[in-house]
Amino acid sequence: MPTSDSAGDIDLRRLRRVCSECSVRELCLPVGLSSDDLDELETLAELRGPLREEEHLYRIGDPLRYLFAVRSGTFKTCFTDEHGREHVLGFHMPGELIGLDAIYPERHQCEAKALETATVCRFNYDHLTDIAGHLPALQRQLFRLASKDVSGMQAPTASNPAEERLAAFLLDWAGRLKRRGYSATHFVLSMPRRDLANYLAVAPETISRLLRRFQDEGLIRIEGREAWLLDPEGLRKV
């Protein structure tokens, strides 16, 4: 039928515009791509979701098939050890790539879970590296995104005092939001307090106590999961 055909066409075209219409394309894979390159990348991009809070994107041991780019919402990567202890490895926001750690062992080494309603774009890893083999700009951006996760510097160090770790985390979070065009001074901490504590290797009570202290010192204001950075400079000095 003519009507449904044309509707189908439009849908198909919209599907293919996964990257060009994305608000975080300037942080994600399309950086530096010509419009022809982008067309090729978009043939691979598959929009998935929405995933609900707590829903898994992948689990430990799953074979590596895709790399995922967060499109909306926040994800947590973590794993649970044999004693049942959970270890939070990171929090990921739109425009960030997850699953890179699975390339070497060819299996996922951790699990990725949505912290709130979220959508992702997935890229078949073999196809992605195939096209990166003839699109130098895509290869360069893939190397750049992987490089960003290479250093152990993101991992919070237990050798620094807890207040330094928390202040550094808040500033890093604010900086990442700002690059995505969001407010760097008023935002939502989408992760539960206990995940934040686990990630920073600090007791949950300590996190609550420190957040209260930062509030008393006029550095931040916290209401539920909403946070205001009132004095980023002061926070930097912590």
């Binding site: 050890d81 083999g133 992987a146 490089s147 160090t157």
Partner: protein, 244 residues
């Protein structure tokens, strides 16, 4: 001009076969490459060294031009924060690539220093990316090597006891040495005790205490920097939860 004292070069004939004749080829950049591709890589690899304990390969803020593969000896990567505290990011054995974290910001993000007498291979990043366009296996290996580093950076982030961390560290080292044809049971720790503590995010006293406990329990033998893993099964059991 005589070669500079900092980066003496080996003769061009040795240079040309940097990868095809290297025993570490299967762990390093050339893994899985065909002979032809290996020769293309040889053409852009330069061997540098020997360097000595304390010599820096690069420092924070240096412009990023090349990646380095450790050929012999060991390197440490580290940072110094504003208050002068050092943070050790990693220890690097022969066949391991360093400098990958500089690709994104285009400047070196940490310092790399030799822990003993060491030689390295240097490849310009522009050459690697250009060659990766023609040699899919090289691109694939670049992703694999970066992925491996991402995995080990994550492993440190876990919430582990000092025993688990130290056992995981010893096993990780033992695995990497075995892959290089060295004894996985009996090896020398090239890094000072305080670097190990720093890397594992533990107090130096804690590392000494746990080392002593491991010795008392018959898990390891330790004489200065020489380690013997006496009871591999129990060390593995301790490190069971730590990805390594």
């Amino acid at each position: 001009m005589p070669p500079s004292a900092r980066q003496p070069r080996l003769s061009p004939t040795t240079l040309r076969k940097a990868c095809s004749e290297c025993t570490l080829a299967e762990l390093c950049l050339p893994m899985g490459l065909e002979q032809d591709d290996m020769e293309r890589l040889d053409a852009v690899v330069e061997q540098l060294g020997p360097f000595h304990d304390g010599d820096h390969l690069y420092r924070v803020g240096d412009e990023f031009r090349s990646l380095y593969a450790v050929r012999s000896g060991q390197y440490k990567t580290y940072l110094v924060d504003e208050s002068g505290r050092e943070q050790v990011l990693g220890f690097h054995l022969p066949g391991e690539l360093i400098g990958l974290d500089a690709i994104y910001p285009d400047r070196h993000q940490c310092n790399a220093v030799a822990l003993d007498t060491a030689t390295v291979c240097r490849v310009s990043y522009d050459d690697i990316t250009a060659l990766s366009q023609r040699v899919p296996g090289l691109q694939r290996q670049m992703f694999r090597l970066m992925s491996r580093d991402i995995g080990s950076a994550q492993a440190l982030g876990g919430d582990y006891s000092a025993e688990e961390r130290l056992a995981g560290f010893l096993l990780n080292l033992s695995d990497r040495l075995r892959a290089r044809g060295y004894s996985p049971q009996h090896f020398v720790l090239a890094m000072p005790r305080r670097d190990i503590a720093n890397y594992l995010r533990l107090a130096p006293e804690t590392v000494s205490r746990v080392f002593k406990r491991f010795q008392r329990q018959g898990l390891i033998g330790l004489e200065r920097r020489e380690v013997r893993l006496l009871d591999m099964a129990r060390v593995q059991e301790l490190a069971r939860c730590v990805p390594h």
